[in-house]
């Protein structure tokens, strides 16, 4: 009885405070319904578990306090990023650790390739995002894997490594978006980028060899072009020289002919008497020049028959 009477005394004594405290607690309880939605979020307001406002914009809002209303804040404007590296042969790959299998993608021409890609996405529909799928990101990840392997299974390895990067990215983006929309995932893919696209470590050398060979081919062709640049001008130079030589031959021949004939013409153009003398002079000059050079000279007389006979014998002796 003593405790109860004590409480009674306290209550009686503090009746005013008691009401004030209860009132204060009640006000606090009501105030707990005030909430903020920040700039990059959207609020989904639920009353007794049912969505009553799916589009609470940024600012200060009031909801009825727990347990009546509940607000889910969804970061709708935040761009998120996920890296799909399931097909990279990384040393700390969990798939390899669990199964002993290497990680790669198979290509349409039965090659294997390592690939990774970055996907940027955002939440496009807050209600779908929170209501339909439990782990949106895991779903996105698995779907992306599925679409990447499907895409690469129909392409030859050379195409993947060289010019179809954008084609693959677009394929992944549109297919992934379709799949996510089918499941009402509430996600929007904004960007897909292939990050690594490379042949497996074991055959990397062979692939590099092909690249080198390609470059060598270009270089060989360049060398051939250089050779052409050298050969043609050289030929042209030789051709020019030939023509120049011919020209000089021509002018020399003409000049010589002119020179040769000048003397002749000069002599011929004299009067007959003088020409005849010149002729004689030339003949004698010639004889004078040539005779001393000749060692064996024999002079015989036609009148002396005997002499002729003797000479014949002499000649025969000489021959012996």
């Amino acid at each position: 009885m003593s405790i109860l009477s004590e409480i009674k005394i306290i209550i009686l004594q503090s009746k005013k405070y008691y009401y004030t405290v209860i009132l204060g607690l009640f006000v606090l309880y009501l105030c707990s319904g005030i909430y903020f939605i920040s700039q990059n979020e959207i609020g989904v307001l639920m009353r007794f578990g049912k969505v009553i406002d799916a589009n609470v914009m940024q600012g200060i809002h009031y909801a009825l306090p727990w347990p009546i209303d509940k607000v889910e804040k969804v970061p709708i404007k935040t761009i998120k990023r996920i890296i799909i590296d399931d097909f990279l042969d990384l040393p700390n790959n969990t798939f390899y650790k669990n199964t002993g299998l290497a990680s790669y993608c198979i290509t349409g021409d039965n090659n294997v390739i390592n690939i990774s890609c970055v996907i940027q996405y955002s939440i496009s529909n807050a209600v779908d995002y929170i209501l339909n799928v439990k782990d949106n990101e895991i779903l996105l990840h698995n779907m992306a894997d599925n679409i990447i392997i499907k895409c690469l299974l129909q392409l030859p390895v050379d195409e993947i490594l060289t010019y179809s990067k954008i084609k693959i990215e677009n394929y992944i983006k549109s297919e992934l978006q379709n799949k996510l929309d089918e499941l009402k995932c509430g996600l929007n893919i904004s960007f897909v980028e292939l990050k690594d696209v490379k042949p497996p470590q074991k055959v990397q050398q062979a692939f590099n060899n092909v690249i080198n060979a390609k470059m060598e081919k270009e270089m060989t062709i360049d060398r051939a072009k250089g050779e052409v640049n050298r050969m043609i001008p050289t030929a042209r130079g030789r051709a020019n020289r030939m023509i120049e030589e011919a020209n000089s031959y021509k002018s020399t021949a003409v000049l010589r002919a002119e020179g040769d004939t000048k003397r002749f013409s000069d002599i011929v153009s004299q009067n007959k008497e003088a020409a005849s003398l010149t002729k004689k002079r030339l003949y004698l000059e010639f004889i004078k020049e040539i005779f001393p050079k000749i060692e064996n000279k024999y002079i015989i007389s036609n009148k002396d028959k005997m002499n002729a006979e003797k000479f014949k014998i002499f000649i025969e002796k000489l021959k012996e």
Partner: protein
Amino acid sequence: MKRNMLFVVCSIIIIVLISLSIFIVDEREFVIITQFGRVVRIIEKPGLYFKLPAFLENINRFDKRVEIFKTQPIQLLLRDKNPIILTSFVCYKISDPLTYFQSLTNKDVAIQRLSDMTISTLGSTLGEYTIENIINTDAVKIKLSEIEEKVISVCNQKAKSKYGIEIISFGIQRINYPTIVLESVYNRMQAERDKEAQRYRAEGMEEFTKIEATAAKEAAQIEAEAYKKAEIIKGEGDKKAIEIYTKAYSKDPKFYEFLKSLDVYNEILKEKTTLILSTESDLLKYLNYKEKDEK
């Protein structure tokens, strides 16, 4: 005062009782109310609900949303006996909470059952396809999506009625060759690349020879044309010279003959030449000089 006390105690008890029998069902869940293990009610709509307080009635909550899980990689055989290792993922949701609740005790069991079911269905479905239906540069021949669709529809026939589960999506998440096959794939890739590298090098040499040959041909052409031109020019020179000679010499052909003969003698009469001259020759006529000759 006693009445006042009674009021306070009573109201506290009432509040406690109410809080034990009121519950909220979220938009994202099903609730099954059981009474000592016996199903009493299934609630599929969100809102505020009442039940008998405390242990008299139990709340069992189930997620309405799509769940996702991955299966273990498993080696399967295709129709053409090609082995292939597949890893897949399954998205499912509870379509019939009562069946689900009665047949499966919890989520782990559900995943185990579904996993077994999809893998065995996948195995039997793959038996109808060859490797060409999976790996092919011709996109039309690839039937992977068709295989996935088949697995979904076959599994759903069982899963819906037996487990109250609907498979929303099923997809291959990874394809691997068995390790031995992978080795031969690497070898083949290596060989293919080597062949390609060789091809590039050969092409380079071919191109080189081709370009060089064309250039050589062009160069030869240039030189030949120049030769032709040069010969024509030389010919012209010769012609002109001959013309000049002819023109000059034709004025006195006998004198030309005389001069040319002297030239020829000069050439043919060398030191060792034996010259026999008659005293009758014009040159030596003066050796027999007589006064009368002058007349």
